[in-house]
Each structure stands twice: as C-alpha cells, then as structure tokens.
Symmetry: C2
Subunit: 137 residues, 2 copies
C-alpha cells in the first residue's frame, strides 16, 4: 500500500496528493496526518491537489474529514492548487467543500496560515496581559 509522504515545514505539514486516492490510502493519510500533528505540534496543514484532475465526492469527504480531524487537534487545514476545471466541476456537482479553507497555491496558503498564527499569537499575548495583575491604582 502506498503512503503519501507528509513534509514538515516549520509549523506546517505539507501533503501533495498525486495519485488517485483509494479508500486505504485515504484512511492511511488521515491516520498519518493525525499522528504527525500530535508528534510535531504542527499548527497548520497544507494539502496540495494541483495534480488531481478529478475531485469527486469521495475526495471531497476526505478533505472535509482531514480538516475536521486537524481542527480538533488545534491545526488549520488549507487546500491549495485546485485546478480551475476541478473548481467548476465541484460547484456544478453541488460539492462546496464546506468547512475547508482553500488558497490558490502553496505560497498563498502558507501566507494564510502564517497570518492565522500571528493572530493566534496576538490573542495569546492579549489574554496573558489581561490575566496579569494590573498596577495598583
């Protein structure tokens, strides 16, 4: 059984889907990704589907499911590189990839994630400063 490699880049994990996904490959990818998020503490997952010429409901469900798993493990998933024809077909089929964030390419996906990380960091800082005892008045 083929396994899809997961590459670590800083706080992100990058997955490039090149082969037609079978049930087993998809399940293995979900397991591997969940494991890697836990092991590396990654905050973002980028899934590149630029090699896919067809995205059917199976792949759509898989992307939504990975996105959901990552979310409960506190990581954001961005699907990148969708071909225009794929986007057209998806909408025509009524598959709108709900709950899945997308970006045009890896570079923009990474920017989107970095912006989200920066926002998180700000929130944490703010929360910390609010928790800190104020000056005596």
């Amino acid at each position: 059984m083929d396994r899809i490699p997961i590459l670590r880049m800083g706080k992100c994990l990058l997955v490039t889907i090149q082969v037609d996904m079978q049930d087993q490959t998809a399940l293995a990818l979900q397991d591997d990704l969940a494991g890697q998020i836990e092991k590396t503490g990654a905050k973002g997952v980028l899934i590149d589907i630029s090699a896919l010429e067809i995205v059917d409901s199976f792949i759509g469900r898989m992307l939504a499911s990975i996105s959901g798993i990552a979310r409960v493990l506190d990581a954001t998933t961005v699907v990148v590189g969708m071909q225009p024809a794929v986007a057209i077909t998806l909408v025509e089929l009524g598959l709108s990839l709900e709950g899945v964030r997308t970006a045009l390419n890896v570079e923009r996906g990474m920017q989107l994630l970095n912006a989200a990380f920066a926002l998180d960091a700000d929130d944490e800082e703010q929360a910390e400063s609010e928790d800190a005892p104020g000056e005596a008045t």
Copy 2:
C-alpha cells in the same frame, strides 16, 4: 501520463516524488522543472524522495541530471528525505549521487538553500561595493 507537480515556495521549487519513475515521467519532470526555473527565476530546487523505498541507477542518474540542468540555470538542487535503507543500498551499489547535495529533511534542505542564498547576496553586495568608485585619496 502522470506529471509530478512542482510547488513554488518563495525562491524555491519543491518536488515530491511519490510514484515509481518511468522514463516518460522522468523526462517530463526534467522539462517541467527547467521550464519552471526559467519562468519563476527560482534559485533552489528541493526534491523529496522520502516516499521512495528503492533508488536505482535510473533514479540516481535522473537526480544527477536534474541537478546539472538546474545548475546551468543558476539554481541549487538539494535531495531530501532519503530513507536510511536507501542510503545503505546506494552506497553498497557504489552509487554515490555525485554532484547532488542532500539534506535529512525538507526543513534542513530549506535551511541549506537559504544559507546559500544569503551567501550569494553577500557576494553580490561585495562585488557591487568593489565596483563602486572609491573615495578620492
């Protein structure tokens, strides 16, 4: 014929090899990579082979050839993610991947490339300051 997607990340191009390479796929990858280097002006190429369980002389030659093509187009190639078993077999077979730089994983490969870019930038600055007319003595 399958094509292997080439992802652009800043000044680098990233290729993840997941399938067993056939002659046609390898030739297409060389063409695509050369085209992308020209189009994007990329200075680095990262080739991830973590999914490959066997690297034979054909893949070895292909890696060397891509590395050579990239070099004449002024880009550095780093092969990353080689499995330990593959490294052992390569050396036992006497294939030493001459002229190909390697790194343990994508993250370290990226660090290596960024260090090389920084060095290049320094060289250019120095060359420029040497070209600039000196102060009158």
